[in-house]
Symmetry: C3
Subunit: 317 residues, 3 copies
């Protein structure tokens, strides 16, 4: 593995999950692997889980971790080729990326989408500007179209909690007051397509994700119908993809409630967090015994540590 900015970069999912489980049972076993290795975490956006779990994963591997809030602690960056830089932007991404790369062995970047320029967002223009400029591995800490580290934690959690060989996993859209990115559902869909699960997506008509990502995945517009016999309910809001970045529904009847969960096969409730209570999901479900959002967040550390381990091992060989 060189870069990890998409679920597509996973060659062998079973091998990766085995590694993650080994790491979880003995987190400090590879502490020599990171000696004298530096990871740079670059944030253009807020972060709680991703920031702390990546810092933790790096520490578990004995790595030096440097964190920078690019917007507030550094210079504002220009991304356009050929720009005449006579405005507010102080530095071009070409220089910034190459310079940071020299101080680091791995760069990890969080950069949310514009939600106004679909083409730019789907091109992952920020993360790919780094990849284009540097020769070291680049990791996505959530880009404009994918959040692959989250997806690794998600499938790891499903594997831990499943009771059937091939569980039914439902990704359900749920209402939210703000326009949210497609990165988490995109990566989750890609991951479910790789995994041995019976996968169903449910959302209001018109809220279809990018068809190039959902491909042949089953889409059911009736949420109640979709929930039948489900073993895992994965809730997530996203803004409209076709009417790009718009909020065309805030229908609270899509909130995940105990009544909805009663339709399932005592399904576990999952969400990537942060989650809006009593919008996405009711208190009763989130605080209930079938909610596994907290251990799901804990797996972020081991998912990330597995990816870092793979990259460091592949660099050495």
């Amino acid at each position: 593995m060189k870069h990890f900015t998409s679920v597509n970069h996973i060659d062998d999912l079973d091998e990766l999950l085995l590694l993650a489980k080994q790491i979880k049972s003995d987190p400090y076993a590879h502490k020599a692997l990171g000696t004298n290795k530096t990871i740079g975490l670059l944030f253009f956006n807020p972060s709680l889980r991703t920031r702390l779990s990546t810092q933790k994963a790096a520490a578990n591997l004995g790595m030096n971790c440097i964190t920078l809030n690019l917007n507030t602690e550094s210079w504002s960056l220009e991304f356009e080729d050929g720009a005449v830089m006579d405005g507010a932007k102080s530095e071009h991404i070409k220089e910034a990326a190459q310079v940071v790369a020299q101080y680091c062995d791995i760069i990890a970047i969080r950069s949310f989408p514009t939600l106004t320029d679909k083409e730019k967002d789907e091109a992952e223009y920020v993360i790919n500007a780094f990849i284009k400029a540097v020769s070291i591995p680049v990791i996505s800490l959530e880009g404009s179209s994918e959040h692959p580290l989250q997806a690794v934690a998600d499938i790891l959690t499903i594997q831990e909690y499943k009771t059937l060989q091939k569980p039914k996993v439902v990704l359900t859209w749920a209402p939210h007051p703000k326009a949210l990115p497609h990165a988490v559902p995109n990566s989750f869909v890609k991951m479910m397509q790789k995994a041995n699960v019976d996968f169903v997506i449910t959302h209001p008509e018109g809220y279809e994700l990018n068809p190039e990502i959902t491909q042949n995945s089953t889409i059911v517009y009736n949420q109640d119908k979709a929930f039948e016999n489900a073993d895992f309910i994965y809730a997530k809001n996203w803004s409209n993809y076709n009417d790009y970045g718009a909020i065309t529904s805030q229908d609270l009847s899509w909130m995940v409630t105990p009544e909805k969960m009663a339709l399932t096969n005592q399904a576990k409730f999952m969400h990537c967090l942060p989650v809006r209570r009593n919008q996405i999901v009711s208190d009763a479900v989130l605080d209930g015994e079938n909610s596994i959002v907290i251990p799901q967040a804990n797996n972020r550390t081991y998912a990330t540590q597995a990816i870092l381990t793979k990259i460091l091992q592949d660099e050495k060989s």
Copy 2:
């Protein structure tokens, strides 16, 4: 010791101070104790001494230290139970606290009071929301009603500088242009009540602290009278407690000046810092040879390291 969010959590003050003194004389002696242990420092408010001394104490113990400015680097948090989260708050404290706890072995939090809602402040609603949500130890880096790490550094400093078995210690209110919290004086009063000192509080009438905290401590409204024979003058502003959070006096005659200090038994001058020069205290006193505010701030490292050591040792046993 499990949590440390109040001076009340100290069982054996003498033992704690002995430990702090041992640490000060040999700060790296327990470096193995913190191996593979992570402390998360969460700041809702600015910090200089607390932030740096806690990072230093953690490093001295070989701990991994993760620092997060919650307001600017992460998501805005909701604290109300049952909230319908359709506004600006992205995440509930219940999830945030549980998630962070999984990445850490100890959580430390700075959260200043509202100074408008006395009940909420006295309930330490932020820090106690963490304690309620998590199972790992929680440390206050100054809460809404106490600043216990400061109080440990304060008594350590008094012990180092005292020349009498039972010195006279005076806590004096002093003027300040802004409304300040009661956390520092509250913890200082509690600590003095535990210590072998002759303790006097002086402030303008109407500026009484919470009587449940001051209890039987001597209060003298005449500052000159209070200063007589004092061995330590501890200056601090606080806003009105009865007229909660109001500034009802900015009387500069309460400033600690050389004339006031001349009334004492060549008292040492103390303050938790940051201090407003020529408001709380005149330059001549702060820059004078009896000012011990700088070594007092230095003791923050050893006080915190003693608390961390106690918690890590008690976790192991």
Copy 3:
């Protein structure tokens, strides 16, 4: 070496550069030197290269590194002696500096100039307030009148890339939309005066740097003439020094272009970064094979590590 806040603090440049080269070839050789040593990085201004390369240099030396954004994470500071602190400033530099010094073995500070008060800027009032208040070594991460760590990286880079015993080095002013400090050119001029180079400064008439710094260095007002036979072109904007902090020219004919570079002896192009593309320098030059701005930035790590090594070694002896 005690402090390092000016190129003047370098006693033996050859020895320093030899050390920097040794460190570059074996960066982790002195990892024991920094054990249980703490460096505090204090930022009043944005930083990318300086922040990350200093953190990297400290890590390479095994040091504990504490970073603080003073304006956003801590208290606003008062610098005036005798100030009556009844306004927005919460803490005096005298206390802040002394306190931080107790938690650190070395303090490093970034503090840009006012560009309105020449006297204050030239007195390096922020950095020198720290030096005055503390007894530990103080390093400039770019002050109001010098950026000496940059200058060490600059001469190290020139030594690596030079093909002549005594190369011709040209410092050229170039246009920029904002008023910039004089710190980088000042330190570069001082460094070139110490080095075995044929040094020329070129800028529009009226843009003279401080004559006490340029001294007898050759100044040529015709940029084309200055570029003839140059081996290194070091571009940099600075605001007017005589009409202090003003922008009296934005003449784009001073931009470094391929046509200008064609006048040189296939000169290498240097800049401290961040650089405004198509203002200071055209894309074609910056992206061309003679641009060495990226390895120049990489040398920031080794320059800083050499300075830290010198200071730590001198502290021990």
